[in-house]
Symmetry: C2
Subunit: 205 residues, 2 copies
């Protein structure tokens, strides 16, 4: 059994989708812990309702650099058995940049989801970027975290049509539906050892 | 009737798709001229077989800047009635960057096709870029030319799945099929006045 940690900062709707899917599809995954950097993250209560342990590692006012903070996260991860050999980490709206040291320690074991078809529209306010650009299709991307932001090997993407009258909000809503579909699917593939990584490319077997 | 010029440098397979579609769908377009910057472009013979006049404006060894060259193109365009009020221009594998002056004179009347889902993978060797990046979807984009490269308002995009074993060549082949579908469709929409442009966004009515 793989031990999973999910890192959140807010409602964590992708966290919820993953946790429910693990149960429903009987994936060989132990959802060990949900960690928030914000004490009032709504996802904490949702995780508890779903029977998953929660931890808070406050980032606001934290004295120290990114790696100092991430070391605190890693301490929690280890306490729950989420190790680089026996665990993996899903970022689900975790509003912090991960340090290269953390990425290297958990190489190819940290997943993220991004609400665009990367490499298009990285960064923030992603759906607004897509609407403002005037693309006819956008989507979402589950990828492994690497040492830069939004650039790691892609596991799954889903395409979403952009309508002429879409706002950032209406587009975000339709993209989110697809996020809730592909993120659990990527977790399942990972747990079943079906993702082969070579360089920056993945093959699903 | 709109007068259309198509600019090519090689085989011009998109040119062929457009010309055939104009005839087949009886679009209100006069395919006035095909212009190549290379005298040996294979598309010239194809255009002639389809009953379209051809012209060559040699770029190799041309003394002068981009705008000097483009003025020669515009002279030819005008001779065939392809004016900024009564004509439009399709770039179909025309391997030159258009000058801002030309773009401004024919504002929103020059179309281009790009074998990727812009803004992802602009520039050259586009399908190789997509395969090397490891995206799961790519596609093609018909857009209006603006004063930078591959950045103008998008008219139509088509999505193409990237398979794990795709090479740049196999992917390019499948994308090309979609190019041959959406470029003629964009030309038809343009001719019928169905493309509304506001800022960098288009609406199809």
């Amino acid at each position: 059994m793989l031990n999973l940690a999910i890192l959140i900062s807010g409602r964590g709707s992708n966290m919820e989708a993953i946790l429910k899917s693990i149960k429903k599809k009987k994936m060989p995954i132990n959802p060990a812990v949900v960690i928030s950097n914000k004490p009032d993250a709504k996802g904490l209560k949702i995780a508890e309702k779903l029977g998953v342990k929660t931890e808070i590692v406050i980032s606001k006012g934290f004295k120290g650099d990114r790696w100092d903070y991430d070391k605190k996260i890693i301490t929690v991860l280890k306490r729950y058995g989420v190790t680089p050999t026996n665990g993996f980490v899903c970022l689900a709206g975790f509003m912090r940049i991960i340090s290269p040291q953390f990425i290297r320690k958990y190489k190819n074991r940290i997943m993220n989801i991004h609400p665009a078809l990367l490499p298009a529209f990285s960064g923030l306010e992603v759906q607004k970027q897509a609407v403002d650009y005037g693309v006819k299709y956008s989507g979402c991307t589950v990828h492994l975290a690497d040492e830069r932001v939004d650039t790691g090997p892609i596991i799954i993407q889903a395409v979403v049509k952009v309508n002429d009258n879409d706002t950032a909000e209406t587009l975000a809503k339709r993209i989110l539906k697809q996020e809730h579909r592909i993120y659990p699917e990527a977790v399942r593939l990972f747990a079943k050892g079906k993702i082969k990584i070579s360089g920056r490319k993945t093959k699903i077997s």
